[in-house]
């Protein structure tokens, strides 16, 4: 397209528009690093907590603090990726908002769960004192379905909006696990949480990362 002011026929114009719109559509690539990281972190946290319950030991710290620590590399990844991008698509902007809203909801949910648990615990103790047996309803049993419900939301939206099936199915998998976890004991809930993290983020992240590497290779070949 080196010639200046080249006049086009109507058909050529329409072909050029189609070609450029397709080029712009294919210009956006995710690296998949964030999905891999969060999938691994959540799976590790859930499996470690499961091991604590299964083998009766306790780490000197709460393993879920790892999710707060993971925010640091996430910020670094986000800044690095946004610096490398030469184009910002509308999809990307909307998805950023969806995941930001998800992050806010997760932290609000942690806060709500803690406040509710602190209010519930003394009542449960009092009940046990009065009746001599623990209450049938255990608050902890219902925490994981709430989180699985949230995990499914941005994953499903991203999968549907970006026409990326691994994430679409990952989101659905989270919701199926959410329903199942309502009727299962905590140990199974933790297993379902780990499985959801792997299905919703880790596996799709690996697929995205593979595609990104392929794209980079192709770009390098073109630029030679």
């Amino acid at each position: 397209m080196g010639t200046e002011e080249k006049q086009l026929s109507e058909r050529e114009s329409l072909e050029l528009i189609t070609m450029m719109i397709n080029k712009a559509k294919n210009a956006y690539y995710e690296t998949g690093v964030s999905a891999i990281m969060w999938g691994s972190v959540i799976a590790v946290c859930a499996l470690e907590r499961l091991a604590e319950l299964q083998f009766g030991y306790r780490l000197p710290f709460d393993i879920y603090l790892l999710t707060f620590v993971a925010i640091i590399p996430q910020v670094y990844i986000s800044i690095k990726e946004s610096k490398e991008r030469k184009v910002k698509s509308y999809d990307e902007v909307y998805m950023d908002y969806v995941w930001l809203a998800f992050g806010i909801c997760i932290f609000l949910m942690i806060f709500i769960v803690n406040v509710t648990f602190n209010a519930w615990e003394p009542m449960a103790e009092e009940y046990q004192k009065l009746t001599g047996h623990p209450p049938q309803y255990r608050f902890q049993e219902f925490i994981h379905p709430l989180f699985l419900l949230l995990y499914g939301l941005p994953t499903f939206i991203t999968g549907a909006a970006c026409k990326f099936k691994p994430m679409l199915w990952g989101g659905i998998f989270c919701w199926v696990c959410c329903i199942v976890a309502l009727f299962t004991p905590i140990k199974i809930d933790l297993l379902l949480t780990a499985a959801s993290a792997v299905m919703a983020w880790l596996i799709p992240g690996i697929v995205i990362e593979k595609e990104y590497r392929q794209y980079k290779k192709e770009q390098a070949t073109i630029n030679v």
Partner: protein
């Protein structure tokens, strides 16, 4: 009756730039250069013409101490593009 095609848009490079920008929120100059295979000089001239017509916004800033030019389509640019495509379609449907 046919309306004349917008002369600002009815040129290969300017139309290519507008078609790229209509699909994205914003794009760097280097991205437009890569996708259109145009020379930097020619692309600069055409971007300036689109800017003067009010079809795009051009933001010049620095990124890691290097100058960076970001282009984004304006509301009047979107309208002009839509009118252009509509006119194109009416020409093509008659010539069929």
């Amino acid at each position: 009756m046919f309306k004349d095609l917008d002369p600002i848009l009815h040129s290969q490079l300017r139309l290519a730039v507008m078609s790229l920008l209509i699909s994205v929120k914003e794009a760097e100059f280097t991205f437009l250069k890569e996708q259109t295979n145009a020379t930097a000089g020619n692309l600069s001239v055409q971007i300036q013409k689109l800017k003067e017509a009010g079809y795009i916004d051009v933001i010049k800033q620095f990124k890691d101490n290097y100058p960076q030019t970001i282009c984004k389509i304006t509301a009047s640019g979107i309208t002009a593009f839509e009118v252009y495509v509509k006119n194109l379609q009416s020409y093509l449907s008659v010539n069929k």
